[in-house]
Symmetry: C2
Subunit: 379 residues, 2 copies
């Protein structure tokens, strides 16, 4: 195997593939980068067993200046090889595999020789057919991911809750995540036949990594679903993730359908006040802030308290307030995550009682996005 | 004590003072920020016992909008207070000390109450007279610090070597640091009488912190020296550091005066090659690279090697090479630090033998700056 390539193009694809490569893996060969060279081009592969990323550099892409002398494959130590490639002196580099998987990397007057591994020992990627593919807008997918992964559990005690539940039916994709303290649900419309049906659970970590590959230049993402794998194709890069097995809890019944107190806020204004209040609650053993709503006096007040450090009290600026008097306590960090996911929007918060979950929705498009937070009992 | 102030101005000075405040101190009151309010203005003080920083906000500075209702002093938890101040909603804030050192901080509709401490229990800053003051250019001082602190020892086994030795005499300041493996010496001219004489050792950590306060807008620094303290005054901020006690070793005799092999490099070009070679030496137990100079063949080659990972060899681009053949090994990290301190300059490296220290000097102004690196015996 021997090729010459433009370093900048190689580094671009390598950076994507490296997202899947962990130095902490228990399978030593997975700390490596697999390179596979055919007459069509060079494929880079990285994997941590949960996520795999494959990226293709085509011989037909003039910008890459890929020159193939002999085909073959090799696995090189990923972190180390990437540091070398980034520091080479010239615009192009040549990689040549010699006997015993020894690999020579040359650029200008610099010549590295490093020990590679037999690519035949590298695990094979799953094959996923393209019979059932969905096309998604990259922007919408990225937003959906950021809005749901916040509510994913990071406790391994209930593994199923570490994923985002995605149900595709009636030309809609419904994504839900909950860690049992809060829930986030986002709905998007898809241009697909109404009889296409899927019910899958994708690990939250996989979606977070996928989201990082959706950079500004990307318009469309192709999604393919198989028995226990999902695959996303972005330009010349394929992103594989395993699916979580099991039944996701029925979350539909958790979302309240009526309320007794309603308030409307500008999300960034409320976020800033919650951030201030949480400065004190973070110094306290139980990280809780208290919200008092009085529609009769038209006041909303937030309190934070730490016996050691002090306390904070703030009258909140709101848009509208109606319904019954209420005093409710909650974890401000859940509230901060929820508020950040609304961006600059105006939101409606609806309460039923001090001990029942309350909902946050954008004032426009109530249907498409809802967040649920369970309050904390303080007495 | 009660005052109202523009938050942005307060935060600016607070940031400077916070450099001296450590949360790891063994003296609890030093985790606090001391504020002292007189009719002239507000003084902020932070200290970790080694370094103290004092910053003054004058009532006469219109931009600060300082309004004094009653004078006094207080110590507040520094990190926590600073987070509050940064997150307050309005442009100004009011700070008021009530009974039992309880302190109220208000801005808009937000009101914090935090527990303060009695300022009488805060250690006093040393008083340093202004009889012997030196004026230094901020840019030159900053460069001198960055060029010498790299060679300061971080081993507490010989505390004296954790400082930079500064000798002022004959209208010159000579600054030297060495960790016994390498040495850096910088000389600058001062516009002072030739009979002004000082011999002090300033902790390297103090100089590094001082350097961070020398931002782009600063032109001149006033330096005052006392028995066991040094003070630097930058605008309205005073920076105090204790001095190290003891005799600094005689470093003059360590610097070779003749050489047998001489080579001239463009510093950034050599730096890039050393960085590549160190990728491999870092993977090895003994972090060493080998340099071979052959004036007869007009070649200079660098080698790095790690038994586990591989090796690197690179022909170096140099400007001039003369003298005897040489093969020498050294720690590439010392070389990288030294080369970075020369910036974009062309440098002369002079060797005497494979086991004797070699010197690096800028090709222009040999006199003012010299670095010394001790080679490593590899056989």
């Amino acid at each position: 195997m021997k090729f010459t390539i433009k370093r900048a193009a190689f580094i671009h694809n390598l950076t994507d593939v490296q997202r899947a490569i962990s130095s902490k893996t228990t399978i030593p060969i997975l700390t490596g980068l697999k390179m596979e060279l055919t007459q069509e081009g060079l494929t880079l592969i990285g994997s941590d067993a949960d996520i795999s990323i494959e990226s293709f550099l085509s011989v037909e892409d003039d910008k890459i200046e890929l020159q193939i002398d002999s085909t073959g494959s090799i696995v090189l130590p990923a972190r180390f090889f990437s540091e070398i490639v980034k520091r080479l002196p010239e615009e192009t580099m040549t990689v040549e595999v010699e006997d015993n998987f020894l690999t020579k990397i040359t650029s200008g007057s610099s010549e590295f020789t490093i020990n590679g591994l037999d690519a035949n020992n590298y695990p094979r990627l799953p094959e996923i057919e393209d019979t059932n593919k969905l096309m998604l807008s990259a922007d919408v997918l990225k937003q959906l991911i950021s809005q749901t992964v916040i509510a994913v559990s990071n406790q391994e005690s209930r593994p199923i809750l570490t994923g985002v539940h995605m149900v595709i039916q009636n030309s809609e994709l419904l994504a839900v995540a909950t860690d049992s303290h809060r829930l986030s649900q986002r709905k998007i419309h898809l241009d697909i036949p109404t009889d296409v049906h899927y019910d899958i659970i994708i690990p939250g970590k996989s979606l977070t990594e996928l989201s990082r590959t959706l950079t500004d230049g990307v318009d469309t993402v192709e999604m393919r679903i198989a028995e226990n794998q999902v695959m996303f194709i972005v330009d010349h890069t394929s992103f594989y993730s395993r699916l979580l097995e099991g039944n996701y809890p029925d979350t539909e019944r958790l979302i309240p359908t009526s309320s007794t107190t309603q308030i409307q806020f500008d999300a960034p204004v409320l976020l800033a006040a919650i951030e201030r209040a949480s400065l004190l609650s973070h110094e306290s053993r139980n990280n809780v802030v208290k919200l008092t709503l009085s529609p009769a006096d038209s006041t909303a007040t937030i309190y934070g308290n730490s016996p050691d450090v002090g306390n904070v009290e703030e009258s909140l600026h709101f848009e509208e307030l109606s319904g019954e008097e209420l005093e409710i306590s909650f974890n401000p960090d859940y509230m901060k995550d929820a508020l950040r996911s609304f961006g600059q929007a105006t939101i409606d918060i609806a309460f039923t009682s001090a001990l029942r979950p309350f909902t946050l929705m954008p004032s426009e498009d109530h249907e498409d996005f809802i967040q649920l937070i369970t309050p904390v009992r303080t007495y």
